[in-house]
Amino acid sequence: MGTQRRGGGARWREALTGYGLVLPSMAVFAVFYLYPVAHTLYLSFFNWNLTGDPKPVGLGNYEALLSDEVFGEVLVNTLTYSLATVAVTMVGGLGLALLLNRPGRVYGVLQACIFTSYIVSWVGVSLLWIWMLDAQFGPVNGVLSAFGVSPVDWLGDPDLALWSLVGVTSWKTVGYDMVLFLAGLQSIPVDTLEAAEMDGASRWQRFWSITFPQLMPTTLFVLITSVIMTFQGFDVVRVMTQGGPVRATTIYVYFIYEQAFGYFKVGYAAAAVVLFFVVLLGVTLVQFRLFDRQRREEAP
């Protein structure tokens, strides 16, 4: 890094300063992140209904979880919801960013409109969409009926409900992806593109051989954060479908909350938390590895 090597005493002071600066943050993380994970792991080996004494059950909760078909359903729901939403928002976000990437007031306004839904709360959005998607008098079906489409039970049909949530989530978060992609696009040196154009490269070729590779870091960042955010989906389910119909929209975090605070099966919920964490950690590490490799390939 080019820092000059200093003498022993200075090194001591540097280390001390370093520790001092990270200490408050580390304290917060230790107490509010690491401890809960450890404590939850501990709780997962007990049965506890929040009022009596916890009863040790060894691996009982894990066995029950892995043989519980509801749990399997929940995993599938979560993966479906997450991957579908991420796919839609990333493609949509990139597409919108490409279209928006030009100067002019109009584009600024449009961008602002699209980004608005990101900053408003889930509570407000969910209540709104319950109305919009109502099978009988929601505007969505109202509009569709103008095209002769018969009413669709967006939230009541177990085959559709999860996809409706994917749709609502995508609607709300595509702005986030769009803004990030836009930033990424605007930091690509214009000369490279112009040079390629002069060399006769088509728009398509320019995109794939220059734009896309240069967008890799942004793409990976968006990918990682989007997967994390969708895996943590809770509010939208709680307000819109409460996990139904028939558990079709029960996703991981909602499942945990239901078990702990709905049915008072804290140990069971804790075991689910541990498994959830392991899965998410694995998924993120894989993505982070890709991210890091990308960063290193790009000579700073």
């Binding site: 929040l50 009022t51 009596g52 319950i130 109502d134 008098f137 018969s150 996990g243 558990r247």
Partner: protein
């Protein structure tokens, strides 16, 4: 210039931070729990009434506080019944739990068995200076003894009924009159009426004949109308998956899937009930079943004349009761518990229960109120308010099993919808639920 503006910025930040830390530490100790300052006992009351019911509750609390200078009740709205219950359980471990709350009937057995609630029979008799209560004046079907089948156990009084209800039929008078249909008295008549009342245009249903949330409460009614039981007489075996239970659920499956005369509103718990209410108000459905609790709301907001009726019967007529009971939490100090008793006793006195029922759709819980001249006149004017009371003749009980709530919430409620919205059969769904319930009861 850069430097000073940055420094100024830094100073501003530091002062803002400091101010906030002071603010937050200052408000750190918000005491909502009870304390005994200057001889006044503070009682924390957690309730789950929203909207207009909440206003009535707060009025009642204010009135109580005014007339009882030694007690100060502080009410807090905690969300719906189930959210509030979760919070109560969780908070009962802490020093910040409530002294008084109200809970749905189905959650009483577990609360009792877990030792969370205080027995009230002593207070009711007037022991220790508490104000006694004439338990005989409570309408039997609405009191604790009348609501539960104790399965041979000895259970003292620990809950007083407050907002009690039954499911009733609400129907759009004009729609039924126009179609020449009278409110159905049997399942068969219900299916026939629904068929007549459903209006379709191509593949769009303009008006549904019938709408019902596929919810535990209504299915419980149907189960008993088909002469079934939830559990065996000793409460050790589940029986709801037998023929009666299947017939009960089968009726709904038939009406939704085959006849296509019934709408199944989306959403869990009260969210589905809301949809049914709103559909009824907007004229999208001719008949719904819902709690008498919504009587005021629906009457005020309907643009048409609405009628009410008993639930139809099958082998017999049957309805469960609903709503909540007051309980006093065991873990609180003596003074609070005694003050809490005074509050719940007062709330169920004839004056208060009358006021409550007139302003909401719930029933008064006292015989003397129902039989009073004033209420009799009221019911002549407002016949719909009478329906639920008259229907009490057909009230059925809940088994006093500590697993009751879990069977309802975990095993039945999420699964009742399955045969209606998927291809699963009623036998398989109820069969599995029954097996799971037996496993649960066996533990």
């Amino acid at each position: 210039m850069e430097r000073s503006s940055v420094r100024g910025w830094g100073v501003r930040w530091a002062s803002v931070l400091g101010l906030l830390l002071v603010l937050s530490s200052g408000s750190c100790k918000r005491d909502d729990g009870a304390s005994e300052a200057d001889g006044v006992v503070e009682v924390s009351f957690w309730y789950a009434y929203g909207g207009t019911n909440r206003q009535v509750t707060e009025e009642l609390i204010a009135s109580f506080n005014a007339s009882h200078p030694k007690i100060r009740v502080k009410g807090t709205y905690q969300g719906d019944y189930f959210e509030a219950l979760a919070k109560v359980r969780v908070a009962s471990r802490t020093s910040r739990g409530p002294a008084v709350t109200h809970v749905v009937s189905e959650s009483l057995p577990a609360l009792w068995e877990d030792g969370l609630v205080e027995p009230l029979d002593g207070y009711a008799r007037g022991e220790g200076g508490a104000t006694a209560v004439d338990l005989a004046d409570f309408i039997p079907a609405l009191s604790q003894d009348g609501t539960f089948d104790y399965l041979g156990k000895e259970v003292p009084l620990f809950a007083l009924p407050f907002n009690r209800s039954t499911p009733i039929v609400f129907y759009n008078k004009k729609m039924l009159a126009d179609a020449g249909v009278s409110p159905p008295q049997t399942w068969e008549e219900l299916e026939a009426a629904a068929r007549t009342l459903t209006v379709r245009e191509g593949d769009q249903t303009k008006v549904w004949g019938f709408e019902l949330p596929i919810s535990w409460w209504f299915w419980y009614a149907l189960l008993h109308q088909a002469d079934g039981r939830l559990l065996s007489e000793d409460g050790k075996t589940a029986m709801f998956g037998h023929a009666a239970g299947q017939e009960a659920l089968g009726l709904l499956v038939r009406m939704v899937k085959q006849d296509k005369t019934m709408k199944n509103p989306p959403g869990r718990d009260y969210n589905a009930w809301e949809v049914a209410n709103t559909d009824f108000l907007s004229g999208r459905v001719a008949m719904i079943w819902t709690s008498t609790a919504f009587l005021n709301y629906l009457t005020e907001n309907a643009k048409f004349e609405l009628g009410t009726a008993f639930l139809p019967g099958f082998k017999r007529k049957a309805v469960p009761t609903g709503g909540t009971f007051f309980v006093v939490m065991k873990g609180r100090p003596e003074a609070e518990k005694r003050a809490g008793w005074e509050f719940v006793r007062w709330m169920t006195e004839p004056e208060q229960t009358k006021l409550w029922s007139q302003k909401t759709g719930y029933m008064p819980v006292r015989r003397s109120v129902v039989e009073s001249a004033e209420m009799k006149a009221f019911y002549v004017e407002h016949s719909n308010w009478r329906t639920t009371i008259d229907q009490l003749d057909h009230a059925v009980r809940f088994p006093f099993s500590p697993k009751l709530l879990e069977i309802q919430r975990d095993l039945l409620q999420p699964n009742l919808e399955k045969p209606v919205v998927t291809d699963a059969t009623v036998e398989s769904v109820l069969g599995k639920a029954e097996a799971d319930a037996n496993a649960l009861l066996g533990r």
